[in-house]
Amino acid sequence: MGEIVGIGLIPGLPHLLARDPAPSWEQLAGAAREMGEEWRAAGAEALMVMSTQWFTVLGHNFQARPQLRGTYVDENWYAYDYGTFDYEIETADALVRGWGGEAAADGFQVHMTDYEGFPIDTGSLVAQRLLDPQRNLPMAIMSCNLYAAAGDMERLGHAGARAAAGLDLKVACVAVSGLSGGWTNRWIEPREDEVSSPAHDAWNRRMLEWLEAGDSATALAERERYSEESEVDSQLRALPLIEGWAGTLGPAQIRSYGPVWGTGAAVVSWNKQQGGSS
């Protein structure tokens, strides 16, 4: 019988890999690395990932290519040291097929993505480098459908939890997503970085407080308004997905919060055992 050993939210921007990071980038990266270490210490054998930067619009895509390797060149950040690196990912084959199968059984249109040369999104790659720098954990990666309703995301999370439970695997689940948008639209030095809008900053902090208090009902209810007022990354579809993974969301641990090029970013974790059933 499989088990979810941890659930987390991390930002997926490559700035966290910078050689000369802003203080917030360094803290966010450190928090994510620490979370990954804890998951591995808890016996995690695979990562279940949803990244908002792999966005799709028709149905739901699951990465099914057994081995993914290549050189990542970011179309935004190619001029920086963190904009280019080699990668290698092993897909958690049974887990991703189980997840996709459970989603299909729930009535979702599922596409198993298996193409040589497929461009792996920045968020998934950053997640691997932070959470599993030695590349020991195979990954089951799902895209983020830009049209998915919150209820659908939650059901997709449930589908993932069922898939994990049906396998003899210890799984850690991570949603790769930012918080507020509002990019600082100029070339900045890392030390200049700050959340671009005080209103965004206030909203981010409010949302994190609800999560820390375990008030997921308010967090989910306010998600739409937060998204509209703070340009939130994919309308924080990560949150209902996380609830689906958890069954019931308990209090979160806010491990780090700060800006990445004007956007808001946080590393947050939930203890599955604390959160309830699946």
């Binding site: 028709l58 060149v73 179309e75 280019t84 497929f118 049209y147 509002g182 990019w183 600082t184 639209n185």
Partner: protein, 334 residues
């Protein structure tokens, strides 16, 4: 059920690099032998390339979306036989750059591009030449216009499917040099408020072309209404499934095309924000505003060669013939 995705307000900070580039300032007002021959609304759905079955694309189809493809055939003939441009300058909404307008200055972009949303339709081996001097001139003029911009000179950056699709459909031989511009998603993708910057980018593009001495065509790589299906038909080219996503979106598309056919670009310019709001029109990426601005919002009839939906989105192939249509080039240069 129709959905609208992009509904996030624009950020506060947009401009900071307003210092003119010295080189651009020096050259401004110089020679103006370059000209824009025509502008094309050149939609990029990967379905159209897929339907063409070119050797460069791996997937195979039974065709489909013929009205748009026939329209492209007409354009291709005109480009090769009549216009014979030196360069195609293209603005595409799927090279999304968060910070600034990027100009591809890689001399020979080539590689294999798998489309991340429709990998079943587009896995394309691309290979084209960049007109580097013109690309650098566009960059310089953009900076002189006060826009945040960057020269993209990394050959490893994968070319996006919108650029690939429109370029292939306009010029499948790939023998006309290109200048490729990114879509500065940050201010533009989610709202109409950043379209002013796209118009300034158009102005910068026009100045760069004028001083280049080149004969250029422009391509705005975007769809019109952009509310679409949320599941894919099987097979994708099953035309019995194709229809406008909503009647309202269709009405909006036709209203805008009718205005363009009558040369009423000023009205179009005023309606663009409302159009985007009503239909999630992909022109919010800025390509159409960029192109019409580069052509100084020409009040000449656009030749609308075809309109058809692709997974419910509205798409039109259209031409603004600035030369060779009896109107001469009086619309250039103001």
């Amino acid at each position: 059920m129709p959905h609208q995705v992009f509904r996030v307000p624009t950020p506060q900070q947009r401009f900071s690099e307003r210092e003119p580039a010295p080189a651009a300032v020096e050259r401004r007002g110089g020679g103006s032998s370059g000209e824009i021959l025509a502008g094309f609304l050149a939609p990029h759905p990967p379905h159209l390339v897929y339907a063409e079955n070119p050797p460069a694309n791996e997937p195979r189809s039974e065709g489909g979306w013929e009205v748009l493809r026939w329209a492209y055939q007409d354009i291709r003939r005109k480009i090769r036989e009549e216009l014979r441009p030196d360069v195609i300058v293209i603005h595409a909404p799927h090279w999304i750059t968060m910070i600034g307008h990027h100009v591809n200055c890689v001399p020979n972009p080539r590689g294999f591009s798998v489309e991340p949303i429709f990998p079943d339709l587009l896995r394309f081996h691309y290979d084209f030449k960049t007109d580097v001097p013109l690309a650098e001139a566009v960059y310089e003029e953009a900076v002189s216009e006060g826009l945040v911009a960057r020269r993209m000179d990394h050959p490893g950056v994968r070319i996006d499917y919108a650029t690939i699709g429109s370029l292939y459909l306009l010029n499948p031989e790939g023998d006309i040099p290109v200048v490729s511009l990114s879509c500065n998603n940050n201010p533009y993708f989610y709202t109409h408020e950043g379209l002013d910057d796209m118009e300034r980018l158009g102005t910068a593009t026009r100045r760069a072309i004028e001083r280049s001495g080149k004969r250029v065509i422009l391509a705005a790589s975007n769809s019109l209404s952009h509310i679409h299906f949320d599941e894919t038909p099987n097979p994708p080219e099953d035309m019995s499934k194709e229809h406008p996503m909503t009647f309202d979106a269709y009405r909006w598309d036709i209203r805008m095309l009718e205005l363009l056919r009558r040369g009423r670009t000023r009205e179009v310019r005023e309606l663009i924000p409302e159009y985007i709001e009503a239909t999630a029109a992909e022109i919010k990426g800025g390509a159409l505003s960029w192109m019409l601005s580069a052509m100084e919002w020409p009040e000449i009839p656009a030749r609308v060669l075809g309109y058809q939906t692709v997974i419910g989105t509205g798409n039109a192939v259209a031409e603004w013939p600035l030369v060779g249509n009896g109107n001469g080039s009086a619309y250039l240069g103001g």
